[in-house]
Amino acid sequence: MNKDILICGVGGQGTVLASRIIAAAAMEEGSSVHSAETIGMAQRGGSVTSHVRSGDEAYSPMIPFGAADMLLAFEPGEAVRNLRYLRRGGTAVVNTTAVKPVTESLRDTGYDGSEMVNYLQGKCDCIFINAEEVCKPFGSTKFFNIIMLGVAAGSGHLGLKSETLLKMIGQYVPSRFLDVNIRAFNAGMEIAGQTSGNLKGE
């Protein structure tokens, strides 16, 4: 089965780790996997994407426009920026907490992500989560990427078993942080359970 997952956000949000865990889990489940990441200057606070493609017919390292089964957006503006990748009927998991660019602080256009959230609602099936709120119990935004993975897994559209993802989390995060990461993943799964009922479905 072919599955294309696009992960997007802002440099420093932990999108790379999330994409590596998805790729590793897909391989663990026997798929042939390819991926591509933003590397270099753009990592310094710029827009970043990771493309994870599983299946034998993924030729391009990047997902073509209109092909992604799921958009995992760590920032609402980045979700809109990358919406063209999502296929018709695909699902977007979107963090509603905006990351303001430095230029925004200088210019003050009032960007807070809300207009992005409104726009997305009319465009595709969305699962919204508020990073600020869901990260509170963890005392840090550091585990947000794993919460996002939990939401993606819980939505049922990632095409991967949660056990496999948890196993890969165990391989990718330092052992002293494993417990808190498992809690983060489960928190994400719960959020998905609460919200996925609102989806129109495919």
Partner: protein
């Protein structure tokens, strides 16, 4: 063993599996992870180094290949410009052990100053070039590259592009690697000492040999033809081959020709592949190299062939290709409909712009700010260079007036000085760039009596490319602690009379150092020393005392730190980003920003 690796990792593992015995290079996106992968993989018996620059790397590796060992050099495309001097000459001399020069091209350009095409260098130097389309191919092809290098006793170029370098795939590799043999250098001045007579002789032999290699490449397994359709054909290379394949899914039979060895051009292969074809579309990135070769072949063999590509405007000259671009080009050429249904986003709200910026707490920000403060109201010009600190050009710092190539800031400041009287000319250079190509510029300044202020921004690493060590860091890629090459002592040895060293995060001291230098003549140097925040633990966190803050926003306006934002109209410091550098607390006119040691 199955390993999920980046294209650059595949190149490294392929070279190790081919028995490479020496690997040298200089960091540069998109090539840097090749050497980093070698260092993490089992590589006992392999000499591994970050050389001081690409020219040094190629010379080190060429001598290893003279000694009979397999050697690899890695760099980005512009690094090949630096290495072009030894490259041209070693092409005449040839090698004994395989010598593969990896030069990663960057269509877009995504992280580079130019959109140059390494395949042109291959043609220019008359040496073979290999062009992989994916990480899996890169792994296989680099091993072939070593074999061809030894078969024809010539250095060869290996040219991946960014999207191949940074793509990930699973590669099957041996569990361990063993370096190949090294017979040792055998003296033979008639072979290894370049003289006009030898170059004349070898030039003739090389051209004859290249005809042979072109024939050999005609059966190279990565030069492929798919589909039996006649009339129209698509010719492609590198990652564009995979973009085209992605587009042509479900459109079987279209003739797709892929050339993985642009030089020496596999003419016999192409003639056969074009049999029954009247119209051909060339889809390649950077320069229309294959397109030109096909035109040449068509002329030579009187083929009635219409050739489309960059030269007739069918494919853009600049920028990288993509599935979407290829889809549009193929649709026009083939009269078919490729591409998927897309969500219409033409009505999307305006998106936030996210240019790359210096990290929160970056000491470069403090260095630039100190110079800016010290030179307020005076005429000054600021020559930048290549590295994170190029980002000093962004508002509100706006402290980069020129940027050209590695090390150029130091010498360009001299040219500006000679032509612009009364203007204080500054050159900013990073520590790694200083060692790579800054030192000769300082010698030039001292010798030719320039009045410049050299600012060495020493953050103890090569930050932009992923924190590689360099001669000033005291460790090398063999894992050894070595004597640190002192920037101050180098400057002193060259004859720079005034050399000051300051911590840029101590703003008053840093401003005073610049003011002192501005009063003097000759070559003055300030070493701004503070480690990169990405490799050090944060010193603490700063916070705004809401009761004291008058919301003048001077902190935001003056330094543009990403940790400084406004929440509900009030200036706030993002604790997740702040490193406690304290620069903003020096700027606040009402002392509303305090530090907190973490």
């Amino acid at each position: 063993m199955k390993q999920y690796v980046m294209g650059n990792g595949a190149i490294a593992l392929g070279a190790l599996s081919a028995g490479v015995r020496l690997v040298a290079g200089y960091p540069g996106t998109p090539s840097s992870e090749i050497i980093e992968t070698v260092s993490r993989a089992p590589h006992e018996g392999v000499h591994l180094e970050w050389s001081v620059n690409e020219k040094a790397a190629l010379e080190v590796a060429a001598a290893a290949a003279y000694s009979g060992a397999r050697a690899m050099v890695t760099m980005k495309q512009m690094g090949l410009n630096v290495a072009s001097d030894p490259l041209m000459s070693v092409a005449y001399i040839g090698v004994k052990g395989g010598l593969v020069i990896v030069s990663a091209d960057d269509p877009g350009p995504i992280s580079s100053q130019t959109e140059q095409d390494t395949r042109r260098y291959a043609d220019f130097c008359r040496i073979p070039v290999f062009d992989p389309a994916s990480p899996e191919e890169a792994y296989e092809m680099i091993r072939e590259a070593f074999a061809y290098s030894e078969k024809y006793n010539t250095p060869v170029l290996f040219r991946p592009t960014t999207r191949v370098c940074h793509a990930y795939a699973a590669i099957e590799t041996p569990d361990s690697f063993a370096p190949g043999p090294c017979d040792g250098f055998v003296r033979d001045p008639g072979r290894w000492v370049i003289f006009p007579r030898l170059s004349y002789m070898n030039h003739g032999k090389i051209e004859q040999r290249n005809v042979e290699i072109g024939k050999d490449f005609s059966s190279f397994r990565f030069n492929t033809v798919e589909g039996t359709g006649s009339g129209k054909a698509v010719v492609t290379s590198g990652v564009s081959y995979n973009y085209v394949r992605e587009c042509l899914k479900g459109h079987d039979g279209i003739r797709l020709i892929r050339v993985a060895t642009a030089f020496p051009f596999p003419e016999d292969f192409m003639l056969k592949a074009l049999d029954g074809v009247q119209e051909v579309l060339c889809v390649e990135e950077l320069s229309p190299y294959i397109e030109e070769q096909i035109l040449k072949t068509a002329g030579k063999h009187h083929l009635a062939l219409k050739v489309s590509g960059k030269l007739d405007g069918s494919v853009p000259h600049n920028g990288e290709n993509s599935v979407e671009l290829c889809s549009a080009i193929l649709d026009r050429f083939l009269g078919i409909r490729t591409g998927l249904a897309q969500t219409d986003v033409s009505d999307a709200p305006e998106l936030p712009v996210r240019p790359p910026v210096l990290c929160a707490g970056c000491p470069h920000r403090a260095s630039f700010y100190a110079v800016k403060q010290a030179m307020k109201g005076r005429q000054a010009v600021f020559c930048g260079d290549i590295g994170c600190y190029t980002l000093g050009n962004a508002m509100p710092l706006d402290m980069v007036d020129t940027c050209l190539c590695m090390g150029a800031g130091i010498t360009m400041a001299q040219g500006l000085n000679h032509m612009n009287e009364g203007v204080t000319c500054f050159a900013f250079v990073g520590d790694s760039t200083f060692f790579a190509s800054g030192i000769t510029g300082v010698v030039n300044a001292v010798y030719n009596e320039a009045d410049i202020i050299l600012c060495v921004l020493d953050n103890s690493t090569t930050a932009m490319t992923g924190h590689q060590p360099h001669p000033g860091t005291g460790r090398n890629m063999m894992g050894n602690a070595v004597e640190k090459v002192s920037i101050e002592k180098v400057l002193e040895g060259i004859g720079v009379r005034k050399i000051l060293t300051v911590d840029p995060l101590n703003l008053d001291e840093a401003v005073y150092a610049v003011e002192q230098c501005a009063e003097e003549k000759g070559v003055r140097a300030i070493v701004f020393r503070s480690p990169c925040v990405a490799i050090t633990k944060p010193q603490g966190k700063c916070a705004v005392e809401a009761a004291k803050c008058v919301n003048c926003r001077k902190c935001i306006r003056e330094i543009g730190c990403p940790a400084l934002t406004t929440v509900d109209g009030a200036v706030t410091i993002d604790r997740n980003l702040c490193t406690g550098c304290g620069l903003c607390s020096h700027i606040c006119p009402v002392h509303a920003i305090g530090g907190e040691k973490g």
